[in-house]
Amino acid sequence: MGEVALLEINGLQTSIDDTEILHGINLKIMPGEIHAVMGRNGSGKSTTANVLMGHPDYEVTGGTIHLDGKDLLEMEAHERARSGIFLSFQYPQAVPGLQVGNFLRRSVAAVRGEEAAKGAEFRSTLKEGMNRLDLDRSFLSRYVNDGFSGGEKKRFEILQMMLLKPRLAILDETDSGLDIDGIRTVAEGIDAAIRGTTSGALIITHYNRILEHVKPDYVHVLINGCIVKSGGPELASELEERGYDWVESDAE
């Protein structure tokens, strides 16, 4: 027996409103690895992210998902978070009246325990993260995602990731809506949180841009709810140059 996979997805089938979207996905991420899933709009990328996090609107009709050997499908979203899954949302939700600082403290306490939210380590990680992501101190007293610009929302997702220290960070289109500087900042944040740890990341993206900054170990191409091709980082560049059509025809 080898090392236990960080994430192991076997034959995952998923439906929403009785329409099957994922038709049997297989994916294995080992500790320390960064994987990318690429695909066009509507290929099932965001569905994959939401199903891993446990969105109640998606029905899993077949297959298994294990995180560190634990059955994720048995868990509700908050239990998955506490087990180490983190999702950086494509469209983070606003919660008017809930202050960022308060939310961060409570979330760290919920995911990592009360002690983690009290210690000096929390404060220093927060300070360092905000510096790295170029977020002002006044940010802490704003309301969660309320009136945030697109870039602020994405940087706030990364800040949460840094504080929650997940086993597996899923980044759903974190690069969309960001300019070049924003992408670099966010990429550095991902690198800092994952590289050199036993955690892993699953970067879900449309474009190659973010992958030029965060070099993935593996790239998977998702078309119509199936992973049709996997390879190294060079696959991302190839998709950038040649588009998705050739993969599609290869697959057929």
């Binding site: 908050h78 983070p92 939700q93 919660v95 008017p96 979330s107 929650l164």
Partner: protein, 468 residues
């Protein structure tokens, strides 16, 4: 506990009751004799007895309001209410002297602890009378008067006679008439010119007996350039029969004075809460009502400010939570009688499990009042399809120079919002509580920290078991 009682109590954590050890208890029902007996028992001056009797006749002849929740109002049986009940023969200055059961109840409610930590003075009313009363010595030395209303009448009859009923006459409405007829307890406060009471003073009202009527009467006078923050809390046991709470509060803010009056109302769901609260603000004075309504069966309460002097300012910030079987009909009334007066109303309501929240507001600007500013915002949050929110705003603006703004919104908690918070490790109930507390945040930030924490905890309890 019977099943009925258990289901009625639910998550209400303060619904216990003590054994009834009344030293004086009136029979159910109201008559002129009951009114006279209350007055005689208190050895009141003749003029007060007369006001009470007049108010009683007005109450008898005055029809029920024809608005609000008429159906629930008609269910009140005035013959099944106890109008006076005394459980302790004295108002003590030391908690150790308060009868043990009663002291334990206030201990469990955390009142003596709060008093030590962050209050300037406390009055604790149990049924009809204050059982404990105390004020910090340094405030007494500065001439601040803080008494229960009965002692106020005895010791400062002149001031009470001048102001009693001057802001809320008994003819104002059926329930102000009822209160004037049978009032007992409440607070009497006078803050001398220029004195700033830094820490809040608190009154806590507890109903213990079944079918109890509590009718406290509060009068606060802030003399020129003074300031005070008054906080009140209230709770009651949960019974299957109804109780009635009908208070009258009168505030007088003389020129340049500042009165803030904060309430966290957490009556059990068998209490009718029909309260008249009104203040008069003279030149450059400010009156603020910070009003949280969490409990009760039916609340009808519209804190009011009469802006009588130039440059006066009024704020009414209120939140209401309506759960199963509850109707919070709350709002605000502001009358701009003088020039350069400003007012702000912020109303937030949450309805859940078929609960009903209503905002009922009235703002008037008199033709003579130049350059007034009015800002009204009311937001409602519905947690499910069965719940209801209504807004009844009225603005009568008689002066074309007034600047009036009104905004209203109704929103629902979305699944995506809940999922986002759950993905950060919060259970569905915790997620809902975070959304609800966030919605109330503009209110809670106005409360003293200890109260804000209490309110958030209350809301978290209300959210428990709310996810099907």
């Amino acid at each position: 506990m019977t099943d009925e009682a258990r289901s009625a109590v639910g998550d209400y954590k303060v619904g216990w009751h003590d054994p009834e050890n009344a030293t004086i208890r009136f029979d159910f029902g109201l008559s002129e004799q009951v009114v006279r007996d209350i007055s005689a028992l208190k050895n009141e001056p003749e003029w007060m007895t007369e006001i009470r009797v007049k108010a009683f006749h007005h109450f008898e002849n005055r029809p029920m309001p024809t608005w609000g929740n008429m159906h629930l109002l008609e269910e009140i049986d005035f013959d099944k209410v106890c109008y006076y009940l005394r459980s302790s023969d004295a108002t003590e200055k030391n908690w150790d002297d308060v009868p043990e059961d009663i002291r334990n109840t206030f201990d469990r409610l955390g009142i003596p602890e709060a008093e030590q930590k962050w209050l300037s003075g406390v009055t604790a009313q149990y049924e009809s009378e204050a059982v404990y009363h105390s004020i910090r010595e340094d405030l007494e030395e500065q001439g601040v008067i803080f008494l229960d209303m009965d002692s106020g009448l005895r010791e400062y009859e002149g001031i009470v006679k001048e102001y009693f009923g001057s802001v809320v006459p008994y003819t104002d409405n059926k329930f102000s008439a009822l209160n004037t007829a049978v009032w007992s307890g409440g607070s009497f406060i006078y803050v001398p010119s220029g004195v700033h009471v830094e820490m809040p003073v608190q009154a806590y009202f507890r109903i213990n007996a079944k079918n109890m009527g509590q009718f406290e009467r509060t009068l606060i006078i802030a003399d020129e350039g003074s300031s005070i923050h008054y906080v009140e809390g209230c709770t009651a046991p949960t019974y299957s029969t109804d109780s009635l709470h009908s208070a009258v509060v009168e505030l007088i803010a003389l020129p340049g004075a500042h009165i803030r009056y904060s309430t966290v109302q957490n009556w059990s769901n068998n209490v009718y809460n029909l309260v008249t609260k009104r203040g008069v603000a003279y030149d450059n004075a400010t009156i603020e009502w910070v009003d949280g309504n969490i409990g009760s069966k039916l609340t009808m309460k519209y804190p009011a400010v009469i802006l009588k002097g130039e440059g006066a300012h009024a704020e009414v910030i209120s939140v209401a939570y309506s759960g199963e079987g509850q109707h919070q009909d709350a709002g605000a009334k502001i009358h701009h009688l003088a020039s350069n007066t400003t007012s702000k109303i912020l109303s937030k309501s949450i309805s859940k499990d078929g609960g009903r929240g209503s905002y009922r507001g009235m703002v008037t600007v008199s033709p003579k009042a130049e350059n007034c500013k009015v800002n009204v915002v009311c937001d409602a949050l519905l947690l499910d399809e069965d719940s209801r929110s209504d807004t009844y705003p009225t603005m009568e603006v008689g002066n074309s120079g007034a600047r009036c703004e009104h905004e209203a919104s109704v929103s629902k908690v979305s699944d995506d919002q809940l999922f986002y918070l759950m993905s950060r490790g919060h259970t569905e109930e915790e997620a809902l509580a975070l959304i609800v507390n966030g919605f109330f945040e503009p209110f809670t930030r106005e409360l003293p920290m200890e109260y804000a924490v209490e309110l958030n905890q209350l809301m978290a309890l209300e959210m428990e078991g709310s996810i099907g």
